[in-house]
Amino acid sequence: MPLSPAVSMLSRRQLLKVASALGLSTAALGLRPAWANPVGLGRGHPQGVEQGPEISLAIRRETRTIAGKTGRPITLNGTSPGPLIRLREGQEAVLRVTNLLEEQTSAHWHGFLLPPEMDGVPGVSFAGIAPGETFTARFPVSQNGTYWYHSHSGLQEQLGHAGPIIIDAAEPEPFVYDREHVLLLTDWTFEDPKDVFRHLKVSEGYYNRQERTIADFFADVAKNGVADTLAQRSMWAQMRMSSRDLADVTGTTYIFLMNGHAPQDNWTALFKPGEKIRLRVINGSAMSYFDVRIPGLTMTVVAADGQPVQPVPVDEFRIAVAETYDVLVEPEADRAYTLFAESMDRSGYARGTLAPRLGMAAPIPPRRSIPDRGMEAMSAHGSMDHSDVQDRDHAAMPGTDHAGTPGTDHSAMQGMDHSAMQGMDHAAMQGMAFPGDKNPAPASRSRGLLPAGTAQPGSHYDQPGIGIDPAARRVLVYRDLKAYAPWPDRRPPGRELELQLTGNMKRYMWSFDGMKFSEVNGPIHFEHGERLRLIFTNTTMMEHPIHLHGMWMELENGAGELIPRKHTLNIKPGERVSALVSADAPGLWAFHCHLLYHMDAGMFRVVRVA
């Protein structure tokens, strides 16, 4: 156990105080997962932790209070989100899942390497868990780090069917710390997830209350002149799209939760000044990307998707849906710090406090202004609607021709705060600078495959994404991710498999290569034992977190032999991202966009390794 000396050093009085606070408020009532206690994790406070290797989960639909209102989340052993599952590398895990719902359910162990029949995806790895039945997932634990679990049935994930998993390492990890806390970020709505889905299908902008208005228009005219403003507006109008389409489901219906707690609950994580704290941040939300920061503290990223990376000190990082990041912080001062996770579209935030004592709070940072999507999203869109592309040469796109001049920053990105602009501008310029990005593959292929680890043309690994400025503060980007030590399979790829991420916004249809899951015939084939390169080209104007089950994806971000590996890759609009896969896990595996409603709308495939 790598921590705990600090926890056991906590005074008995402090523990009692914490326990009574918890007992009176939430834990004793089973409303919140008790692992999310202020003291942190460790032997000193084991409640709410299902200690492996043998654990049982009972899944129910229960009435709970969320943000002061009554909701009906799915609970796991009485809490939503569910208990922390704590395993140890090298163990034989026995995870029993009992379905006490009135419908089928499942539990997928996200990011785990395991036999395919234990992976928990109904229709791919097993038949699902019928009401009243228990499924036992039994497999050797061959990895370590921060992971999570969630339902893979219907839209149950939106109802809170998720929880954190920690696998303690068999060997010492490459970093030390005194205390650890889990930060599980989720998005909750009191609407029925089926209604949310219907609203998106009927009227894609249903949850967007941040559209550009006439007032914005006049503000832009005042700032940038009539011509630029009209040019910018008409470009989006011509595309029949909105530059403010940042998230499909937003804070107009979502309450963003940190460890099951709404912002006003002020969930608190305790520390002692001078301690080194490990925060295990998990984005377990259905649809929401977050930008995470702790004003006043530098966070050192030490693991991504459970895998150790070379330490990267940052002030902020963006966490895509289903990703996990482990960061170390060292608060020296005897003061409170805000744990701030702002939703990418700025429509809300999850919040907690890192404090030396309970009952403290620090200022909540003002929310940044709403960014507009830039050129990269549009050039991406081009390849989606071919009739449109042909007659839209770049010169005809107003604003494009002066993409490099400072004046255009403004015309292209009206209404953004200045800091956000630069980040956007880079992305925009890259997209524009390589108009050939859309189809660069044939040229590179004719000369053979790119060397292993090389960043694809069209990748933007130096960009964190929309609305976040790498110049204003240190922001984690994919280029920063370098494995702590080289991974064993160093073979170059034997072949390439390219997939386009496609969609029809208006109809809320999402797919790979223009085909929804219901339209494709048969699985994607990986040859057992082969080393292959997956290339994703995002032709849509939304981010997509792409998740491959059962095998790592090694992100070709130019890190050379320190190629990092992940279970979920964020692909930005217009971006072309590649990853190497060692197809060493025979069987059927799910492969999909981890935005819940995108997946359910058809952005899902099955991979067969044989």
């Binding site: 229709g123 550009r212 208005t213 011509q238 029949r240 899902f604």
Partner: protein, 256 residues
């Protein structure tokens, strides 16, 4: 012609049924009995775009409505569209100017091709003449975000007419939306009973300002201006009516 409409309707129904069947394919090769990891869902909605009281400058007040509902999947849907009014104080029951049941197929990202049967006439009353149509139309969004609904109609008497409606939304604030709207109708032959004449019959331009209390409920006020052309205008003049008119409306937009 009635026969044609029945055939069209039949084809539509068949196509819709066949979609449902086409959705159970084998996108993976898991053992039978496991079911599909992702299943397609059908959705449905009903939009009452306009339900309004109309004050005209000729004291011919009316209650008017315009609704559109659909049910189906991503590619194929069944639509019902209705537009009509009940003139106040004329002692007659309400009348549907159009009531269409259409099969709709997505033919491009932003376009649906629709075909089916239409009806014009009174509702459970004999106050108004009735006729049925075969209808074919295009519903979609053109660049610059104009929502367009066009229809070509052939009546049971073989009379051909065409209609065009286009709407645009200007967002004043996140909840206040200004919606200009134009509408035009033309025909290839005279149909006296329905006051239809050969050529462009009329155009109507309107402007509505709505406040979205929620996405699904938005009261509005608005105004419109209409003008008749050619023989329609002549007929109106002969009857000593006005060939141009305007009015004020107040109503509510709802969807379910």
């Amino acid at each position: 012609m009635r026969f044609t409409t029945r055939i069209l309707f039949g084809v539509g129904t068949l196509a819709l049924v066949s979609t449902a069947q086409a959705q159970t394919n084998s996108s993976h090769d898991a053992p039978p009995g496991w079911g599909l990891p992702m299943t397609e869902h059908n959705f449905g909605t009903l939009l009452v775009d306009r339900l309004e009281y109309v004050w005209t400058d000729e004291n011919k007040d009316a209650i008017a409505w315009d609704f559109q509902g659909w049910y189906g999947g991503d590619f194929q849907r069944l639509y019902i569209k209705g537009e009509g009014k009940n003139r106040q104080g004329d002692g007659e029951d309400a009348e549907f100017e159009t009531l269409d049941l259409l099969y709709s197929h997505l033919i491009a990202d932003f376009w649906e091709l629709q075909g089916g049967i239409g009806y014009q006439g009174g509702i459970a009353s004999s106050d108004h003449p009735e006729r049925t149509f075969a209808v074919i139309g295009l519903l979609g969004t053109i660049p610059y975000q104009f929502e367009v609904d066009t229809a070509l109609r052939v009546s049971d008497e073989g009379d051909v007419s065409a209609s065009l409606e286009a709407e645009y939304e200007i967002r004043m604030t996140q909840r206040v939306i200004l919606q200009p709207r134009v509408e035009a109708e033309a025909a290839t032959s005279d149909v006296e009973e329905f006051s239809v004449v050969r050529g462009l019959n009329y155009t109507r331009a309107g402007m509505r300002l709505r406040y979205e209390v929620t996405r699904k409920l938005a009261p509005y006020i608005g105004t419109y201006w209409e003008k008749q052309y050619g023989k329609t205008a002549e007929l109106t003049r002969e009857a000593l009516g006005e060939t141009e008119g305007s009015g004020v409306v107040a109503g509510v937009r709802m969807w379910f």
